[in-house]
C-alpha cells in the first residue's frame, strides 16, 4: 500500500493507493486492480470492470450495528453466545453459504459443523453443484487460466454469458491476451458460443449456435457421437437440437483441429433439466477429444471464493458440498444434505447463513421454512436473509477490509490485499468466537 500524502493540509483526510488489489466479486478474482482510497472510501478502481467498480465503490463502511439480536442492536459477545446456543440447541443444524468468505473463515465454519454434528453446504450446491457431482463421475481435464491465455486457440462457452457475469474474462484470460503460443491474441483463437438465447457474449463469437432450450444434453451427445465417427440421422439431430448436423460436424472438425481447446461452461447447463447429466456429457466430450488433441473444460464460477469453498470443504471433509456429520463422520449426498433440500423438506431446525442470501435466492418452500427456524446470518450488507435472522452480524468485506486467501475459478489461490480497516469484525473473527463458545458448551477444552 502506498500513501501519497494528505489531500488537504491540516485536515485528517489521507489519500492512499493500494496496488494490485484483488477483486472478489466474481470467480475471475482479478488481482491487478489499483485502488484509490480516501477517508475510508474507495474513489477509484483502475482496471476493474463494471461489476468490479460497483463492488469497490459501493463498499463504504456500513453504519449498521455489528450485531443485531431479534432485530435489536446487541453486543458482539452476546451475539456470539446466542449464536452458539442456537447451533448447539438443534437436532439438525445446517451451515450454508461461504462463497464470499476467505478460506480461513471457511475452515472455521467446517470446524463448527464438526463440533455440532451438523450439515455443511455451500452456494456451490445451487450453482455448479451438479458439475461437482459430474467431476466425481467422469473426472476433470483441467488447466489454469494462465494456460488458456498462453495456449488456448479454440475457446468455447456453453451456457455461459461472461460479457455480463465475468466482464474481464475475454480480455484478461480467454480471448484477447497475446500469449506464448497465440502471439496474435484474438486472431489466433476461434471463439464458439452455444446458448439458448443470443446473449451479449454472442457478439464476441466467431460461431454462435442457438440450440433449443433444454436440449444441451442432446447437443453434447451429438458432438460425442461425431467425435467417435458415429453416423447420425440428420433430421433427428436438427429436430432435437435445432442445429443442422452439418454445422455440428463442422464444429467437431474444428475442435479436433485445435491445438489447445477449452470449454468454459456455466449455469445454462447445471440449472437446466438434466443438471449433472449435462455437465457429465460436457466433461465426457472433453475427455473424448483428448484422443485427438489437447482439450480442457472449466466451469465459470460466480462468486469470488466459491472455488475456495469447494477446496476447503473437500480438504476438511473429503467432499466438496452437501456434507452431513450427524453420525460423527462426514457423509456426502446431494439432494439429501444440500441446503435447498433440507430447508424445503422442513428438516433443518436451526442454521447459520454465511455470506449468502437464501431468503432471496431459494425456492418459496425453502424460504418459508428458514423464516420459521432460529438462524444466524453473517453479511457485509443488509439482505433479506440478514433482516429475518435471529442473530445478524455485520462483517468486514473480504478483500476490501479483511485479509485472507481466495481461490480463483481455476483453483489458483490468491492472497487478498485489503484497502482499509472496518469497525466491524471479519467473518473469521465472528466464526472463531462462535467456535470457542460452541466448544465451551460442548465441554471441549480449547
Amino acid at each position: 500500500m502506498a500513501s501519497v500524502g494528505s489531500v488537504e493540509p491540516g485536515a485528517r483526510s489521507e489519500l492512499t493507493v493500494v496496488e494490485d488489489a484483488v477483486c472478489t466479486f466474481c470467480g475471475c478474482v482479478c488481482d491487478d486492480i489499483d485502488l484509490t482510497v480516501e477517508n475510508n472510501h474507495i474513489t477509484q478502481a483502475q482496471r476493474a470492470c463494471v461489476l468490479g467498480k460497483a463492488w469497490f465503490l459501493n463498499h463504504a463502511i456500513d453504519d449498521r450495528p455489528s450485531c443485531l439480536i431479534d432485530g435489536q442492536p446487541a453486543g458482539l459477545e452476546d451475539g456470539y453466545q446466542r449464536a452458539a446456543e442456537i447451533l448447539t440447541g438443534g437436532k439438525y443444524p445446517i451451515v450454508y453459504g461461504l462463497s464470499d468468505s476467505p478460506c480461513e473463515a471457511q475452515r472455521v465454519a467446517v470446524s463448527i459443523v464438526d463440533w455440532i454434528d451438523g450439515t455443511i453446504d455451500t452456494t456451490t450446491s445451487v450453482c455448479h453443484g451438479p458439475s461437482g457431482m459430474a467431476f466425481q463421475g467422469v473426472g476433470e481435464v483441467t488447466c489454469t487460466l494462465g494456460e488458456v491465455a498462453n495456449r488456448g486457440d479454440f475457446i468455447m462457452f456453453w451456457g455461459s454469458n461472461p460479457a455480463e457475469s465475468h466482464p474481464r474474462h475475454f480480455t484478461k484470460y480467454s480471448l484477447m491476451p497475446k500469449g506464448m503460443f497465440v502471439p496474435n491474441g484474438r486472431k489466433d483463437r476461434t471463439c464458439v458460443i452455444v446458448d439458448v438465447r443470443k446473449t451479449k457474449s454472442a457478439k464476441a463469437a466467431d460461431i454462435f449456435l442457438q440450440i433449443k432450450p433444454r436440449k444441451d444434453f442432446e447437443a453434447l451427445w451429438t458432438l460425442r457421437a461425431l467425435a467417435k465417427g458415429i453416423e447420425l440421422d440428420a433430421r433427428q439431430v436438427e429436430s432435437e437440437t435445432g442445429i443442422e448436423l452439418s454445422v455440428w460436424q463442422d464444429l467437431m472438425d474444428r475442435m479436433k483441429a485445435a491445438k489447445f481447446g477449452v470449454i468454459f461452461f456455466g449455469m445454462g447447463l447445471t440449472m437446466t433439466r438434466g443438471k449433472h447429466a449435462n455437465s457429465e456429457a460436457l466433461l465426457a466430450l472433453t475427455r473424448d477429444l483428448n484422443a485427438y488433441t489437447r482439450f480442457t473444460a472449466k466451469p465459470n464460477r460466480g462468486h469470488g471464493n466459491v472455488t475456495g469453498a469447494d477446496n476447503v470443504v473437500a480438504w476438511r471433509t473429503g467432499y466438496p458440498f452437501g456434507v452431513n456429520h450427524n453420525r460423527g463422520y462426514p457423509r456426502f449426498n446431494p439432494g439429501e444434505y444440500t441446503t435447498s433440500d433440507t430447508l424445503a423438506r422442513g428438516e433443518a431446525d436451526c442454521g447459520m447463513m454465511i455470506a449468502c442470501d437464501p431468503m432471496a435466492n431459494f425456492s418459496q418452500p425453502a424460504r418459508e421454512h428458514l423464516a420459521s427456524i432460529p438462524y444466524i446470518a453473517l453479511d457485509s450488507k443488509e439482505t433479506p436473509t440478514t433482516r429475518a435472522a435471529t442473530v445478524a452480524f455485520t462483517v468486514a468485506t473480504y478483500g476490501i477490509n479483511a485479509p485472507g486467501t481466495v481461490y480463483r475459478m481455476d483453483d489458483v489461490p490468491i492472497p487478498l490485499r485489503p484497502a482499509f480497516k472496518s469497525p466491524h469484525p471479519s467473518d473469521f473473527e465472528v466464526l472463531s468466537n462462535i467456535e470457542t463458545r460452541v466448544k465451551a458448551i460442548r465441554g471441549v477444552r480449547s
Binding site: 451438479p130 454469458n161 455480463e164 433444454r214 449455469m267 445454462g268 447445471t270 449433472h276 435466492n361 431459494f362
Partner: protein, 119 residues
C-alpha cells in the same frame, strides 16, 4: 388469454452491480422485477412496456410481473428472461430431483396477460 412459455432466469450486469449497491436499492429491484419478452411475442400478445402479466408454473407457483421488450434478436420467441432474484426464485420448485439444485432455468410457465390493471 394464456400461453405457454419457457422462462430463462439469468445474470445481467445491472443486477450484478445492483447487488453491490444494495439489494433494497432501485437498480437491483428494477432488474429483478422486469420480465423480458421477445419483441415478436410482445406484438402478437399486444403487450406494451410496463404491462403486467401473471406467470404460473406447473407446480402452482404464481407471480405477477411487469414486462419489457427484450433487445432485438437477444431472445427468441417463446422464451422469457428475467434477472435472478425474488421473482425467479418464487417460480422454482422445492424439489431438486436428488441433485441439490432446483430447476432454475428452462422453467415451463403459463403466461396470462393482465395489462396495466394491477400496476
Amino acid at each position: 388469454m394464456t400461453e405457454m412459455f419457457i422462462l430463462i432466469p439469468g445474470r445481467t450486469s445491472d443486477q450484478g452491480c445492483g447487488i453491490s449497491e444494495g439489494k433494497f436499492q432501485e437498480k437491483y429491484q428494477k432488474q429483478i422485477t422486469s420480465l423480458q419478452v421477445a419483441p415478436g411475442d410482445m406484438e402478437r400478445l399486444a403487450l406494451a412496456e410496463g404491462d403486467w402479466v401473471r406467470l404460473t408454473t406447473e407446480f402452482g407457483q404464481q407471480v405477477e410481473v411487469a414486462v419489457t421488450a427484450a433487445k432485438k434478436d437477444e431472445l427468441p420467441e417463446g422464451l422469457l428472461f428475467i434477472a435472478y432474484g425474488d421473482i425467479s426464485s418464487r417460480l422454482m420448485g422445492g424439489d431438486t430431483h436428488g441433485s441439490g439444485m432446483p430447476t432454475s432455468k428452462g422453467i415451463d410457465v403459463e403466461l396470462e396477460v393482465l395489462r396495466s390493471e394491477t400496476a
